[in-house]
Subunit: 378 residues, 2 copies
């Protein structure tokens, strides 16, 4: 990964301004910027009364333009999922206003090559990462000192999701000590992402799981304080739990991201946000009640939830192949040649399949916003 | 989609020649060119005694270098799944030796914009597409005449997969007549892809389903001949059925593609081919028997079959998150910081997530081969 500057990423941007969305080759990724802006304002307003601040997760949209809108609306900085995202967003948003764009990599890193990319990105914007072991801390320290920079560290605690993070809080004090004495590292606090809670459909059940996650975070914070370290940053929360987790005064920042774009999965927990991203597809043909579309798993992703057709709530997915999907639709429309808009089952993996959003207002393409920071991209 | 020439696609290629694969940032897409070449030779040899020829499906690898190796080994041309693939492969392989690179788009198209891309590509190499209705034929005819070119047409018949294609063979003669009299179209024959058969684990069951599919194709061919059109091309078959479908003298060409790279899904039906593509990932940490890796659905895809760890047959997938997966592994290795290689559950969707293959020989990167023709790419 070399640095190329924002211009390098835009060099190949297709000039489709003024083209009707209905005249785009399909499948195509479409963004409604007004719905996205409304979601951003609505979320910013919801954070008004909360003690926590929003550090929105860019993994959901991978788009510098959307990240800038979030920062302008008061976001505390950005959260990333991968070193490729950190590198891309440091380049595109690192110089943004008032140092607000500090980048949190809300994941651990254990590859020397990845840590080098991260330390290089830290030259453009302050970077913090999650750590769960002395081995990870040692590797991060080496990369930071080698690059002559500093990396912030949040100690990751498993709050019930069962993925990464310390399971045994007795290991917290020794790990904090190891981080604190490591050159190039700056111990900032704790992270505990309640991924198992954010996706629960029942708000009561989400509340229960969040309470359990917060109990672990409070215990971890007490442990850290006993070891002589004040957790200045405590990061947690997603779109489905932001107002529950963000209401606890211990939590200083929330990682919600998917509220900007929305999809079938996130509509279950967060119907107050509008769907800003869709995939345009063309009906290839009709066989009785079955319509076959030219968008499949390579155009929509295919995980977590089945896609839906916007405006056709009675359409039911019958299959999702590599380059096709099929829906049964009552009535005789749509027909071969018609364009439909699909709501993604899970937008973050769908967006990840495209190099551009076509920004569409009143049916006309008004711009192309690059998708950045995908795996393997420089 | 504008044409840029092969050089344009390579301009941003990272120069990683000489870097050990173990020092690449992860996740990374790795290609073993020797295994891929062996698979290509082995498949070419298997076609020796068959009446059908191989027109390999590039959707599996999306790689001009691999397509050229296939053409050099005697492939009849290339099969594509999307207009983006046709545009990219026309540009990269259109001028290849002896006109052998005619491109079959083994799918229907019903969008005017997509048909324009296709007609434009036909200037670089002969292009044929599948058609199932007079509406599709009319749209294709318009695009071809508008571009001053000609498109070949295969009438698609549903041989049991239940996706696209004529269900009622009584519609075949009128459709053939419509195609034959449409300016800019050239009726070439029939297509009937037995997608429902290729994935059956049992060879006996595959044989049964192929027999059923071939019966439909024979009936369709008879219908076409009665209408006065000799099917010069009859296209069918995949990696799991190539030798069954390709043994019928009616079938002139086979669309198999996944044999080049292989994955967990295709190993079930076609274990004679070697695994040429893997995803390198780093172990982030270990929690008892559970190891957590820095590769998830955005790095591996996540459909059809779970991924496996190469060389660790007893490792069992526990979860596949957006950017992580977890395996239980007996013993104490691998550990945090170790790199492992993952065999994709389904390679075509995994490859589609990356801009490059890192070509690796004896543990050293010897080149980067672009992945081309992804959705939205020009």
């Amino acid at each position: 990964m070399t640095t190329g500057g924002p211009e390098a990423d835009r060099a190949g941007e297709p000039d489709l301004t003024g083209v009707p969305a209905a005249a785009l080759p399909t499948p195509a990724l479409l963004l409604d910027p007004d719905v996205a802006s409304r979601n951003i304002s609505q979320m910013a307003a919801a954070f008004g009364p909360l003690p926590a601040r929003l550090r929105p997760h860019v993994k959901a949209h991978k788009c510098a333009e959307l990240a800038r809108l979030q920062l302008e609306s008061g976001a505390a900085g950005l959260t990333c999922a991968t070193v490729a995202e950190v590198a891309a967003f440091a380049r595109h948003c690192g110089a943004a206003s008032r140092g607000a764009t500090a980048l949190l990599l809300a994941n651990q890193v254990a590859s020397v090559a990845n840590l080098r990319v991260l330390a290089q990105a830290a030259a453009a914007a302050p970077v913090t990462l999650a750590v769960e072991s002395p081995e990870q801390a040692a590797l991060a320290s080496l990369a930071a000192t080698e690059a002559g920079t500093e990396l912030g560290v949040l100690i990751e605690v498993d709050v019930g999701a069962g993925r990464g993070g310390l399971r045994d809080l007795a290991q917290l004090a020794p790990l904090a000590a190891a981080v604190a004495r490591s050159p190039g590292l700056r111990l900032e606090g704790l992270m505990g992402y309640e991924g198992h809670a954010t996706s629960e459909r029942s708000r009561a059940r989400r509340r229960e799981l969040v309470a359990g996650a917060l109990a672990v975070l409070h215990a971890a914070a007490a442990e850290l304080r006993r070891a002589g370290h004040e957790p200045r940053v405590v990061s947690a929360g997603g779109t489905g739990t932001f107002d529950l987790t963000g209401a606890d005064p211990l939590v200083t920042e929330i990682q919600a991201g998917s509220y900007v774009l929305m999809d079938v999965f996130h509509q279950e927990t967060s119907p107050q946000f509008g769907v800003a991203v869709t995939v345009a597809a063309t009906v290839l043909g009709r066989h009785g009640a079955l319509i076959v579309l030219d968008a499949g798993r390579k155009a929509l992703g295919g995980d977590l939830r089945p896609p839906r057709i916007a405006g056709l709530p009675r359409a039911e997915l019958q299959f999702l192949n590599e380059e096709h999907c099929g829906f049964t639709v009552p009535g005789s429309a749509p027909r071969a040649g018609d364009q439909v808009r699909l709501i993604c089952g899970y937008a973050p993996t769908a967006v990840n399949l495209y190099p551009w959003y076509h920004v569409v207002r009143d049916g006309i393409v008004t711009g192309c916003w690059p998708v950045i920071g995908r795996h393997g991209e420089r």
